[in-house]
Amino acid sequence: MNREEKLNRQSRIRNFSIIAHIDHGKSTLADRILEKTNALAQREMKSQLLDSMDLERERGITIKLNAVQLKYKAKDGEEYIFHLIDTPGHVDFTYEVSRSLTACEGAVLVVDAAQGIEAQTLANVYLALDNNLEIIPVINKIDLPSADPERVRTEIEEVIGLDASEAVLASAKAGIGIEEILEQIVELVPAPEGDPDAPLKALIFDSIYDAYRGVVAYIRVMEGSVKPGDKIKMMATGKEFEVTDVGVFTPKIEMHDELTVGDVGFLTAAIKNVGDTRVGDTITNAKNGATEALPGYRKLNPMVYCGLYPIDSSRFNDLREALEKLELNDSALQFEPETSQALGFGFRCGFLGLLHMEIIQERIEREFKIDLITTAPSVIYDVINTDGTQIKVDNPSNMPDPQKIDRVEEPYVKASMMAPNEFVGAIMELCQNKRGIFIDMQYMDETRVSIVYEIPLSEIVYDFFDQLKSNTRGYASFDYELIGYKPSQLVKMDILLNSETVDALSFIVHRDFAYDRGKIIVEKLKALIPRQQFEVPIQAAIGQKIVARSTISAMRKNVLAKCYGGDISRKRKLLEKQKEGKKRMKQVGSVEVPQEAFMAVLKMDDTTPKK
């Protein structure tokens, strides 16, 4: 292609994402768009195609981004090239969302005609607006009996401030309004700008590891072009590679000779580690490359830490390999070996958030078949010692002695919640219980309210989201962002089993809540730890001081006193099952402790202490 042809083609490219709250119909709309553009033969359609990992499909969320190239013949007779870039819908992955939005010129905003705007939608719309994206509002699920499109239209105008008079009324499920959406994309989303002859500037908005190709980087070409054989450089890391392949997904993989301005596709270059293709980084030519990278890159830092230990200590190396494999595909995952007196050898791992943590944990258990013990998640505390030194503590058991501590600071988030006004009381009570500081409350319309609090991240990491959902019967939505550190009256709570401190059960708690939490935790542990052959005292302690205690009674009877006739195999199976159950427990000192006990501090249920 010559320059002319490139520019002509460029004018027919439309790059867009779909923004929606979970369950508002993003995946279904994506499926319909794929269908309409004949990207797939009907038989190839697998419902919700863009969510590729099993886990994603099960949880109904998108973790890994994907981008597809589609051809659309518009009513004006021209054929347009669409790139649909998928975004993850969870708050843990805000940074990725922002990077994938950068790869677009427009975004389709899907709002449920019955439920209206939710906190997550709003957060993502703001990200899109920050990136100067043209936003196309779509009111979805208009065929629901409870749909109220006019109310939602007003909400979009009043809450977000978008002109929603042209908003498409659609039902992705029923196939209503899809063509209108596609026409609006052609009409309203600007064609990409950029000089195809300038030095290469390509934005990495995601990458995956493929066993055969190495790292596959998902890129958006902003300036210049890239083709196989080109020598490229990653501007953040300075690493250089030679391009082996470029291409697009349609959604099937399709090799191209070249990717040029406006193209969204993939690039491979025998890259061995996803850490070399960092999301948000800019790829340029190794020689005579761009001098300035695309704005917005930052290295992702984990917000939540926990210990991962194999139940079977001999599988430590398997766990290391599993983490190394997952790391190839997930540059946000961090881990380093640590030792616990109670649990032996394991890893302290850092995650973007709780969901990220659960996903990794589940993948290790499912894909690598390693039974894990996960310690309760912790945030990073800044500890300023009396001698003036400052340390970061990501593992409660590393907290210095109280007398050595001058003060402790903990990360706070700004938490935005939206819900029908009848739940305002419940939300505020919950936030107060979680040490929240009230910031703002606004009515979005007659019935819906937006509430903003500043809350310690550690409280969010506990059961905040679950409680929010249950206290508002699922109506509240929630989003948060980190705002910085503030001093807090925090103490370390130790748990003793059979008079021995179990380091893996230690946690950090606000002084005012310490007694109540201590009481709850010892009762929880009592319920979770099965009876042993001897009595096991459980104690919660701050320093030397015991603040709560409970006792697991000794096992009194465990014997098959039943007539099984001659069915000896059944007897055997029963005994084997009992023995197997024990293997899934961790021997801590002389006590056998099941997996769930280590997460007990996390699940405070409805018994969260009230101040």
């Binding site: 465990n558 006739g565 195999s569």
Partner: protein, 379 residues
């Protein structure tokens, strides 16, 4: 040599809330055909594995006494015709109190049945109703009297403890009434809620209140104490007898010896194989009609498993497992092959050694499963 046979009659007029044995409602079942096939199974098996003479025969269920007189007679005849009786065979029938007419008792007695085992479970009528039994305490007295009049002396009854809503007083009352009968043998089992039972479904819904472990343990302790006071010695975890009246049939299982299992869903141990028959009556009948054994599965027991079974079955006996028998059976010292669990469980005070036997201690008897599982999967 096989010296024991278990015969399963899978029919019941009522199904108890805790029972998960292979059984069906009697009504509408091809009972006669079943009994014919049962006879055929015994014939085929004895042709295949000829035996000089059986020492024990046990007819269980289900409810064997739910058969009518004619059927009962046919069953007894089949047993007599197909199974070789050794000298002084122990021939037991399980019976439901209230089911046994004088005529039925006479049929059994004539056929050589010399031991009856009644599923009494409790003497508390309320409790009996709650667990789905149809007999009442009064039926027990009546039936036992009739049985004794017929000539039966070797009579045993089963009791269950740990029932929903059962109190210590309830159980002690039942125990007293049972012992008052002065029978030579008693079995007492703890309730275990198994899947596919009424109780299990209730439990899933949170509607079954079982006594706490402490109470169940106390009931068990009380049971052992009461039996001892009455001169009934505990020869197995759940079994008590006057000397000489131990159930030889059950001892076959605990001694890890071989036995036939006849009937739908019955289990056997034949020629080093643990075998199981098809459970559903129709599936059981089909192969037999073609002259084949109705085998659902068989498992050749490897030596290691045999040794494990010698331990977890044998330790159920008060006497314990004989070191000499172990050596004779497996040509290896128990104290070598199982050195670790023996030491470990000994240290915990759950087993003891003496007189050439390893046995559970009194404490170990309450925690038997903890001991049994320690012998599994270590060879």
């Amino acid at each position: 040599m096989i010296q024991s046979a278990y015969i399963h009659i899978p029919f019941c007029e009522h199904i108890c809330h805790y029972c998960d044995f292979n059984k069906v409602f009697l009504q509408g079942q091809p009972v006669d055909q079943y009994l014919t096939m049962l006879k055929k199974e015994m014939q085929i098996a004895l042709d295949k594995y000829p035996q000089p003479g059986l020492r024990t025969i046990f007819v269980g269920g289900g409810t064997p006494t739910s058969l009518n007189e004619r059927q009962l007679e046919f069953l007894c005849q089949s047993i007599n015709e197909t199974l070789p009786f050794g000298d002084s065979v122990e021939f037991t029938f399980e019976a439901n109190p209230g089911d046994l007419s004088e005529e039925k008792l006479a049929i059994l007695y004539e056929a050589g049945v010399n031991r009856l085992s009644f599923g009494v479970q409790s003497f508390n009528d309320e409790l009996l109703k709650k667990i789905g039994r149809t007999h009442r305490a009064a039926d027990v007295y009546e039936t036992i009297e009739k049985a004794q009049k017929t000539g039966f002396t070797n009579i045993s009854i089963d009791l269950i403890y740990g029932l929903p809503g059962q109190t210590m007083d309830d159980f002690v009352d039942t125990l007293d009434k049972a012992l008052e009968l002065g029978l030579p043998h008693y079995s007492s089992y703890s309730l275990i809620v198994e899947p596919k039972t009424v109780f299990y479904n209730l439990m899933q819904k949170g509607k079954l209140q079982l006594p706490p472990q402490e109470l169940e343990a106390s009931m068990y302790e009380r049971l052992m104490e009461s039996m001892k006071r009455r001169g009934l010695h505990q020869y197995e975890i759940s079994n008590f007898a006057k000397p000489g009246f131990e159930s030889r049939h059950n001892l076959t299982y605990w001694n890890n010896e071989e036995y036939f299992g006849f009937g739908a869903g019955a289990h056997g141990y034949i020629s080093e194989r643990r075998v199981a028959n098809y459970g559903p009556i129709k599936k059981y009948i089909v192969p037999l009609s073609d002259g084949d054994l109705p085998l659902l599965e068989e498992h050749l027991v490897p030596k290691a498993e045999k040794m494990e079974e010698e331990m977890f079955l044998g330790l159920r006996k008060t006497q314990g497992v004989s070191l000499a028998t172990f050596k004779r059976k497996f040509s290896i010292e128990m104290t070598d092959i199982f050195a670790e669990p023996l030491r470990e469980q000994g240290k915990r005070g759950l087993i003891e050694m003496g007189g050439g036997f390893v046995r559970l201690t009194e404490r170990g008897r309450l925690l038997g499963n903890e001991v049994f599982q320690s012998f599994l999967g270590i060879i």
